[in-house]
C-alpha cells in the first residue's frame, strides 16, 4: 500500500469515524443491558473509548508523509510571514541577492576560464614548449625554427610536437580587399590538438614543401562568411597575398587556435629559416602533446637536457637559452588567475557581510517573534520543529534571493563576455551553465544556514515561560552580544575589502598618470601589411608607403602622418640584440637587446616623442645615404652615460648577414613600450627608407576626434593599390585603454564589491544601533528624567556604536595587513601595507559608521521621558 495511502486518507478517516460511532453504539447498548439509563450508558461508553478525535488524528497521521506535509506547512507559513513583513523581506532579499549574484558571476568566470578544460582532445596532455633565457630576463620566449626541428627529433616525452606562427594575409576575392589572420603550422599541428576537420582533411607532411602549390584549411567562421558555408568548397581556390591556394579542409565550429585565426597554411620553412644563423630568430610557438603517462616535469627535464646539448653545439646563438614546458591551460589563463582568485575572495567577503546583515535583521525580528514562538512552545511544538520552521524561512529568503541573484549574475556575465581575450581569456564561454547554477544553489543553501542558524539557535533557547513573563519587550543581553559581534565582523570584512580596493585604486591612478612617452590624443592608427609576392623589392615598398603618406598628409584634417614597424605599447613589438663598438667584444649571447622600430621621418613628431639631442630622421636619410639610427634616452643613459652618443655607432640585427653599423644622429624620449608599470624600454629606431619593412603601422594626428579618418584612409590606400586591405584601425585612446584594461577591470570590480560591502556594513551598524535605541527607550527615558542632557544621551549611543566600529577597524586592519600581500603583483608604486591607504580607509569607514550611528542617536535624544516611562 505504501505511500499511496496518503491519497486515500480522507476516505479512511470517514470510515474510522463510522467505526468508532458503531463501537459507541454497541457499548451503549451493552451498558443499557447492564441496567444503566440511556444517558448514563452513552456517557460511560464515551469515557471508555477516550477521545475519538485523537484516535482519528493518530490514524490520520499514520497515513501522512509527515515530513513533506509539515515542510509544506512550513513553507506556506514562511511565505505568509515574509508577505506580512514585506519591508524586512525586501531588504533581506536584496542584500542576499547582491551577495549571491556577485559570487555567481565571479564563479562563472572562474569556472569558464580556470576550471573547465580547454576544448581539445585530452587537453591536460597538451603543452606549450618555449625557449627561456633567464639571464636576459626572458622567462618565456618564442622558439627559433632550427631549435624546434632539433627538439622535435630528440624529444621522447612527447607524442607529437608542432610549430605555429601567426601571420596576416591580404585576401582579394571579396568586394573589398580584406586582411585575414592566419597561422602557418606544421602538419602535426591539428593532431597535437586532437582537432578533426568538418570537411575535407588537414595537412599531411607532403603538403609542407616549399614551392609546392599552396593549400589552405579554413576556419568555420571564414567558411561561413566568405564561402556561404558551401559544402563543395574543397578544391576551390583562394587568393592570399596575390597567390592562389587550394582549400583542402574546413575546421569545425569553435575550433580556434591560435585565438582569432581564420585560416591555416603549412609552415614551409625555407633553407634560410633553417640556417645556423636562424637559431637566433625566435618567432615560433611550439605546442606538443605529452605521451600518455608522461608528466610535464619529465618533459621539462628532457627538454632542458636537449637545450643544454644545443647550447654546447651552437654557443653563438644558444648560450643562455634553455627551454620551458608549460601546460597549455596554464599558458592560456595563467596570468589572469591571481586576479580572479582575489576577486573570488572579495565576493566571498561580500557574501559574509550580506549574511551578517541578514542575520542581524532576523535577530531583530526574533525579539518581536519571541512571543509567537513561546506560545507555540507552550502548545507543545518541539524545539526541532520550531528551529526547522525558522530555517525554512531562511531558505525561502535565500531561495528568492538566489533567483534574483541569478538575474544579476546573468546581467554581469553579459558584460564580462564582451571583454577582449587580452583582458579576460576565454571570456566567450562564460555562462549560466549547470555547474554555475549548482554553485548558486549551493551558495544559497549555505547562506541560509549561515544567516539562519544563529537566530534559530537563539530563539529556541531559553524557557518559553520567561519570555511570556517578560512580555517580549526587553531583549536579553545575550542576543545583543551576538548582534554586536556580527557588526564587528561586518566592519572587519568591509575594511579589508576597502583597503584592497583602495590599494588597487591608488595603483590604477598612479598607473594612469604615468607618461607613456608619447601623445595618444587625436591619433588614429592602422596596420598595412604588403604581400611579399606583389611588393618583392624594397623600392616598391618604399614607394607604396611614401604615396600613402603623401596622400594622407594632403587630407585637410590630418595634421601629421607617419608609419612605423610597430605600435607603441601593444606588447608584441620586436626586440633584437644590439652592439656598440664597446659591446661588440662581448660574446653574442651576452649582448644587450633593445626594442626595435623602423620609422618614417615624421614618426616622432606625429606621436609627440621629444627629441633630446641631435636630430630627427629627415628626407635626406634615404636608401643610399649613410646609415643612421636614433636611440632612446634609456640606451643613452646606460651605454653612453660618459659621453655624447651623437656620432657613435650602433648595430642592431635583422636581415641576412651581419647588420651594418649605423651612426647615431639623435636621442629621443623613452616610451613605456613594455607597459605603463614597467621601466622605460631601451629602443633603437632606424629610418624606414634604409631598413625596409613590409608590415607597417600608420599613424595620423588630427586636431579633433580622428575616428572619421578611417574611411578616408581606406579609400586613399585603395587608390594606391586596390587590392590592399587596411586592418587594426584604432584610436590612440583605444590603444592606451588596452594597455590598462586588466588593471582597470580588477580595480573596477574590486571597488564595486568594496562599495557594496561599505553600504551593507553601514546598514548593519545603523540597524543594530536603531534597534538598541528602540530597546533602551525605557532606560534612556529614566536617564533623561533623572536629568541627563541630550549630549550625554547622544554620547551614550554614539560611544556604543563607535566601540564596535573601532574594534572592527582594528581587526580589519590586522586582516588587511595579512591579506593585501596577495595583491602585491597588482600594485604599482604602492606597497601592500601603504600606511596612507590604511589610514584613509580607516578614517573613511569610521566617518561612515559615525553617520550610521548618529541617526539613531539623534532619535534617542528626542525620547520623551514621560512617554518612555509610560510605555513600559
Amino acid at each position: 500500500m505504501g505511500w499511496m495511502r496518503y491519497f486515500r486518507r480522507a476516505r479512511w478517516d470517514e470510515e474510522r469515524e463510522l467505526e468508532i460511532q458503531a463501537y459507541l453504539e454497541i457499548e451503549t447498548d451493552e451498558n443499557i443491558a447492564r441496567g444503566m439509563t440511556p444517558e448514563e450508558a452513552r456517557y460511560a461508553a464515551r469515557r471508555k473509548l477516550g477521545n475519538p478525535t485523537q484516535i482519528r488524528e493518530e490514524i490520520y497521521r499514520m497515513n501522512s508523509l509527515t515530513f513533506i506535509e509539515s515542510l509544506w506547512q512550513d513553507v506556506r507559513c514562511g511565505l505568509r510571514m515574509l508577505r506580512k513583513n514585506a519591508g524586512f523581506a525586501m531588504v533581506a532579499v536584496l542584500t542576499l541577492a547582491l551577495g549571491i549574484g556577485a559570487n555567481t558571476a565571479i564563479f562563472s568566470v572562474i569556472h569558464a576560464v580556470l576550471l573547465s578544460p580547454l576544448p581539445y582532445d585530452h587537453p591536460d596532455r597538451i603543452t606549450l614548449v618555449r625557449e627561456s633565457n633567464p639571464s636576459k630576463g626572458f622567462e618565456q620566449f618564442s622558439v627559433s625554427p632550427p631549435n624546434y626541428m632539433d627538439w622535435k627529433n630528440a624529444a621522447g616525452a612527447f607524442e607529437q610536437m608542432a610549430s605555429m606562427s601567426r601571420g596576416q594575409f591580404s585576401y582579394t576575392g571579396g568586394a573589398e580587399p580584406e586582411r585575414l589572420v592566419g597561422a602557418r603550422v606544421a602538419a602535426s599541428f591539428f593532431s597535437v590538438l586532437g582537432a578533426q576537420p568538418e570537411l575535407g582533411r588537414t595537412f599531411l607532411p607532403e603538403d609542407d614543401v616549399v614551392g609546392k602549390a599552396g593549400v589552405v584549411v579554413l576556419s568555420h567562421g571564414l567558411w561561413t562568411q566568405h564561402f556561404g558555408s558551401d559544402p563543395q568548397v574543397i578544391g576551390k581556390s583562394l587568393t592570399l597575398d596575390g597567390e592562389s591556394y587550394r582549400v583542402i579542409g574546413v575546421m569545425r565550429n569553435g575550433f580556434q587556435f591560435p585565438r582569432g585565426v581564420q585560416l591555416w597554411l603549412p609552415s614551409e620553412f625555407d633553407e634560410r629559416s633553417l640556417s645556423p644563423r636562424a637559431r637566433g630568430a625566435h618567432y615560433l610557438t611550439v605546442i606538443a602533446r605529452l605521451k600518455p603517462g608522461a608528466s610535464i616535469d619529465q618533459a621539462q627535464a628532457e627538454m632542458v637536457a636537449i637545450s643544454k646539448r644545443l647550447e654546447q653545439l651552437y654557443p653563438n646563438t644558444n648560450t643562455g637559452w634553455t627551454s620551458k614546458v608549460v601546460a597549455l591551460s596554464e599558458a592560456t589563463v595563467g596570468n589572469i588567475r591571481p586576479t580572479l582568485l582575489v576577486l573570488f575572495g572579495a565576493v566571498g567577503f561580500l557574501l559574509l557581510i550580506a549574511c551578517a546583515n541578514v542575520a542581524n535583521l532576523l535577530l531583530a525580528r526574533a525579539t518581536a517573534r519571541q512571543r509567537e514562538i513561546a506560545i507555540r512552545f507552550s502548545l507543545g511544538a518541539s524545539r526541532l520543529r520550531i528551529a526547522r520552521q525558522l530555517l525554512t524561512e531562511s531558505i525561502l529568503l535565500s531561495g528568492i534571493a538566489c533567483a534574483l541573484g541569478l538575474l544579476l549574475a546573468e546581467w554581469a556575465m553579459r558584460a564580462l563576455r564582451t571583454l577582449p581575450p587580452s583582458t579576460l581569456p576565454r571570456a566567450e564561454s562564460i555562462g549560466l551553465d549547470l555547474p554555475v547554477l549548482g554553485f548558486a544553489a549551493g551558495v544559497a543553501v549555505l547562506t541560509a544556514l549561515l544567516f539562519g542558524f544563529a537566530p534559530a539557535l537563539q530563539i529556541t533557547r531559553g524557557a518559553p515561560s520567561e519570555t511570556l513573563k517578560e512580555g517580549g519587550r526587553t531583549a536579553s543581553a545575550g542576543r545583543h552580544g551576538v548582534r554586536s559581534a556580527l557588526v564587528v565582523l561586518e566592519t572587519t570584512l568591509a575594511l579589508v575589502l576597502l583597503v584592497g580596493s583602495g590599494l588597487l585604486f591608488k595603483s590604477f591612478v598612479r598607473l594612469q598618470t604615468v607618461d607613456p612617452g608619447f601623445e595618444s590624443k587625436n591619433i588614429l592608427t592602422a596596420n598595412i601589411s604588403l604581400p611579399k609576392s606583389k611588393y618583392s623589392t624594397d623600392a616598391q615598398t618604399i614607394q607604396f608607403f611614401g604615396q600613402v603618406l603623401e596622400r594622407m598628409q594632403a587630407v585637410p584634417d590630418v595634421k601629421e602622418a607617419a608609419v612605423a614597424s610597430g605600435n607603441p605599447m601593444d606588447g608584441s613589438n620586436l626586440s633584437f640584440v644590439f652592439a656598440t663598438k664597446q659591446l661588440q667584444a662581448l660574446a653574442p649571447a651576452d649582448q644587450p637587446s633593445a626594442g626595435y622600430y623602423v620609422v618614417s621621418p615624421n614618426y616622432f613628431h606625429t606621436l609627440g616623442i621629444p627629441l633630446l639631442v641631435g636630430r630627427y630622421f629627415t628626407q635626406g636619410d634615404f636608401a643610399g645615404s649613410p646609415r643612421v639610427a636614433i636611440i632612446s634616452q634609456a640606451v643613452a643613459q646606460r651605454f653612453f652615460h660618459d659621453r655624447s652618443p651623437i656620432g657613435q655607432t650602433i648595430k642592431i640585427g635583422v636581415g641576412a648577414g651581419d647588420p651594418p653599423w649605423r651612426e647615431i644622429v639623435g636621442v629621443v624620449g623613452d616610451v613605456k613600450d613594455d607597459g605603463l608599470g614597467e621601466a622605460a624600454t631601451m629602443t633603437v629606431y632606424e629610418p624606414c627608407t634604409q631598413q625596409v619593412w613590409s608590415s607597417m603601422s600608420l599613424f595620423l594626428r588630427s586636431d579633433s576626434d580622428p575616428s572619421h579618418l578611417a574611411s578616408v584612409l581606406r579609400s586613399q590606400v585603395m587608390s594606391v593599390d586596390k587590392d590592399q586591405p587596411v586592418a587594426e584601425i584604432a584610436t590612440g585612446e583605444q590603444m592606451m585603454s588596452q594597455a590598462v584594461a586588466q588593471p582597470q577591470l580588477r580595480t573596477l570590480l574590486l571597488s564595486l564589491f568594496a562599495g557594496l560591502a561599505l553600504v551593507l556594513a553601514s546598514l548593519g551598524i545603523y540597524g543594530v544601533m536603531s534597534n538598541m535605541v528602540a530597546q533602551r527607550t525605557h532606560e534612556i527615558g529614566v536617564r533623561m528624567a533623572l536629568g541627563a542632557g541630550q549630549r550625554s544621551v547622544l554620547r551614550l549611543v554614539l560611544s556604543n556604536g563607535m566601540r564596535l566600529t573601532l574594534l572592527g577597524i582594528a581587526l580589519g586592519t590586522a586582516g588587511a595587513f595579512a591579506l593585501t600581500r596577495l595583491m602585491k603583483s597588482f600594485l604599482f608604486h604602492v606597497t601592500p601595507t601603504d600606511p596612507a591607504t590604511f589610514l584613509e580607509v580607516a578614517l573613511f569607514l569610521f566617518a561612515v559608521a559615525l553617520l550610521a550611528s548618529y541617526i539613531p542617536a539623534r532619535r534617542a535624544t528626542r525620547v520623551d521621558p514621560v512617554v518612555a516611562l509610560r510605555y513600559e
Binding site: 467505526e19 468508532i20 463501537y23
Partner: protein, 117 residues
C-alpha cells in the same frame, strides 16, 4: 503540535503484543473492534485492559500491512459494525509471532527462575 508516535501508557508494552493478541482473537473468526477488545479482556481474566485509543490505530496498522482485512457487517444486536478477519499472511504472521513470543517468554522465565539442580 503534540508528539507523534508511541501511544500512551501500557500500549508501549503492548506495541507488538497487542498486534499478536488481535491476530490470535481473529483466529476464531471475524469480529468487530468491540468484540476484539472484549475477548482479549475476558480471556486474560481482565488482566489485560485494551485501551481503545490504541486498539483502533493497531487495527489500522495491521490492515495496512495486509495481515487483516475488514468489511462492514451487522452486529449481534443489529447494529452496523466494521468486522475484521485474518488474511493468509496474517495467519503466517500469527504463527511466526507466537513462536517468537514463546521463545521470549521461555527466555525470560529461564532468567527469572533458574533451573534448580
Amino acid at each position: 503540535m503534540p508528539k507523534r508516535g508511541a501511544p500512551p501508557l501500557q500500549a508501549d508494552l503492548l506495541q507488538g503484543t497487542l498486534d499478536l493478541l488481535i491476530l490470535q482473537t481473529l483466529v476464531l473468526g471475524a469480529a468487530h473492534g468491540h468484540t476484539i477488545a472484549y475477548v482479549i479482556e475476558h480471556r486474560s481474566d481482565a488482566v489485560l485492559q485494551v485501551e481503545h485509543g490504541s486498539l483502533y490505530p493497531a487495527l489500522h496498522r495491521l490492515e495496512d500491512r495486509g495481515w487483516i482485512a475488514s468489511f462492514w457487517g451487522t452486529s449481534e444486536n443489529n447494529r452496523k459494525a466494521r468486522y475484521y478477519r485474518l488474511t493468509r499472511s496474517g495467519r503466517q504472521q500469527l504463527a511466526q509471532q507466537t513462536s517468537r513470543w514463546e521463545q521470549l517468554v521461555g527466555a525470560i522465565n529461564r532468567v527469572l527462575r533458574p533451573a534448580k539442580e
